[in-house]
């Protein structure tokens, strides 16, 4: 379980995080919404060890992460861009974390093969990153993170660069993978529909504070999230469209 207590972070005079508190249970997917510059990315980077908090505490399975290097945390941070290593083919990209952990080569081969099957890109194993489409790159990026069985997966708008059709396919894939690998994750997105679809719990980042909702219903009912307005818009879409004339 991840516990975050009273996390503060400032860049110069700008206070980005103002006492962030929340917990994340094993297997949960916490969807985080919020405006640009509200501190979502900073929060994720602090959890991954890529930034340091000014104050506050982070406990992962009752172990403090203070001062722990990113490579020892078991928390993988995925960017909006897949950032595949350009000198490695698909198979070697996915096997990257296993090779770092000096997993025997036969096991690396077996696990990579299984992951490629899960991702539906077994036929792309030998391709180089520049030969893949955006969706395929994102699949490889997922596989590379999941194969090392991370304690927490942090996703920073992972589908932000994809078109609507591929984005929907990737959401399906993510839900399938989350169920198969029992992923504990935080998922940042600007897309309300995506947040509701992939998250088991919802949170809203506002002015440096994270408000976590008990349930999706509680999130929708809060007028500050804008979710109710959006749902109402789609329900009454007919009213906005021009009427047909015979």
């Amino acid at each position: 379980m991840l516990e975050v207590k009273d996390l503060h972070k400032s860049f110069g005079k700008e206070e980005v995080l103002r006492g962030v508190d929340f917990t994340l249970e094993k297997g949960e997917v916490l969807s985080v919404l919020g405006q640009s510059g509200s501190g979502k990315t900073t929060l994720l980077k602090i959890l991954a060890g890529l930034e340091t908090a000014d104050s506050g505490e982070i406990l992962l399975d009752d172990q403090s992460l203070k001062g722990m290097a990113p490579n020892l945390r078991g928390i993988v941070y995925l960017y909006q861009e897949p950032l595949l290593f350009p000198h490695l083919n698909v198979s070697d990209n996915i096997a990257f974390g296993l090779r770092l952990r000096k997993v025997p080569s036969a096991e690396v081969h077996r696990k990579t093969g299984e992951m490629l099957e899960h991702l539906g890109i077994a036929d792309q194993a030998e391709k180089m990153p520049h030969q893949l489409s955006g969706g395929q790159k994102q699949r490889v990026s997922f596989g590379r993170a999941l194969i090392i069985n991370p304690r927490i997966l942090l996703l920073d708008e992972p589908f932000g660069n994809l078109d609507a059709e591929i984005r929907a396919l990737m959401q399906d894939l993510y839900l399938r993978m989350a169920a198969t690998f029992h992923i504990t994750s935080m998922f940042i997105t600007h897309d309300l529909r995506e947040a509701l679809r992939v998250g088991t719990r919802m949170a809203m980042m506002r002015e440096g504070k994270l408000q976590v909702y008990r349930s999706q219903a509680a999130f929708v009912q809060d007028p500050a999230t804008g979710a109710a307005d959006e749902i109402s818009f789609w329900q009454n879409l007919g009213n906005y469209l021009p009427t047909k004339t015979s």
Partner: protein, 256 residues
């Protein structure tokens, strides 16, 4: 697009003819005006070049040694310095300072360094010339690598870290392989900077460090046309060889 082989031939001739002329001069003996070709042909100059008396072989070795050391040190230190520079809040100030040796011109730069080198006791020594070349090549390497260390590359390094790479394995498994092309280009360019450096070498070496470039100028001022041509040929060979080895990185776009 239609190709024009004629222009290709003209360009190739323009590039190769001076080199061919150097080759002819280096193996010719006696070339009175208005004869088109030398009266005699001999490889004597080439065989003499590597005897102890001419010192050309020694100069070749010295230039290769200085060039390789300077290129290696400048490339490695430039690579790491540029990463720090990319994160610095005073990036632009540092980058502007990196252009200083080229704004001043290498000779003026050497004149400024000479006082310190005299004080350190390395003026007129190989170490002094090497340090002088390094101080010229290092800012160049830093400028070259600032383009490599962008936000995307930092994100890639951070991603590798969260996947389990410690700082050393991050460099060995990701950053060096990704930077391979630009590292080769930097090594090549800084080697050339050192290899062809004349003014700074003469000033700091005070004539006691006879690199190949210094020898060429020496033969030219002595009007020793055949030895100057021979030394010129030796001067051109290593960069040409490196150009051929590096052509893959120099003339292809690096795809990330």
């Amino acid at each position: 697009m239609k190709k024009h082989p004629f222009f290709g031939v003209v360009v190739a001739t323009a590039i190769l003819s001076p080199l061919m002329l150097l080759g002819i001069f280096s193996i010719g003996k006696g070339w009175p005006f208005p004869k088109i070709f030398p009266e005699n042909w001999s490889l004597q100059n080439w065989s003499d070049a590597f005897t102890a008396s001419s010192g050309l072989g020694q100069s070749l070795g010295l230039s290769l040694g200085i060039g390789a050391c300077v290129a290696f040190l400048a490339t490695i230190s430039g690579f790491f310095s540029a990463r720090s520079l990319a994160k610095s809040s005073r990036k632009n100030t540092w980058l502007m300072l990196a252009y200083l040796p080229y704004v001043l011109s290498p000779v003026m730069y050497a004149a400024c360094l000479q006082v310190s080198f005299l004080f350190l006791g390395i003026s007129g020594k190989i170490t002094g010339v090497m340090l002088g070349h390094f101080l010229l090549a290092y800012p160049f390497a830093v400028i070259l690598f600032t383009g490599f260390w962008n936000a995307r590359m930092e994100a890639m390094a951070q991603l590798a870290a969260t996947l389990g790479a410690n700082p050393v394995s991050s460099y060995l498994k990701v950053l060096f392989p990704v930077a391979k092309g630009v590292l080769f280009v930097c090594f090549f360019q800084t080697f050339l900077l050192s290899w062809f450096e004349y003014g700074l070498t003469v000033l700091i070496g005070v004539g006691k460090v006879p690199t190949l470039t210094v020898k060429v100028y020496q033969y030219v001022t002595e009007a020793n046309i055949h030895l100057a041509a021979l030394a010129g040929c030796l001067l051109v060979l290593p960069p040409t060889l490196m150009l051929w080895i590096n052509k893959r990185y120099l003339f292809t776009r690096i795809t990330l």
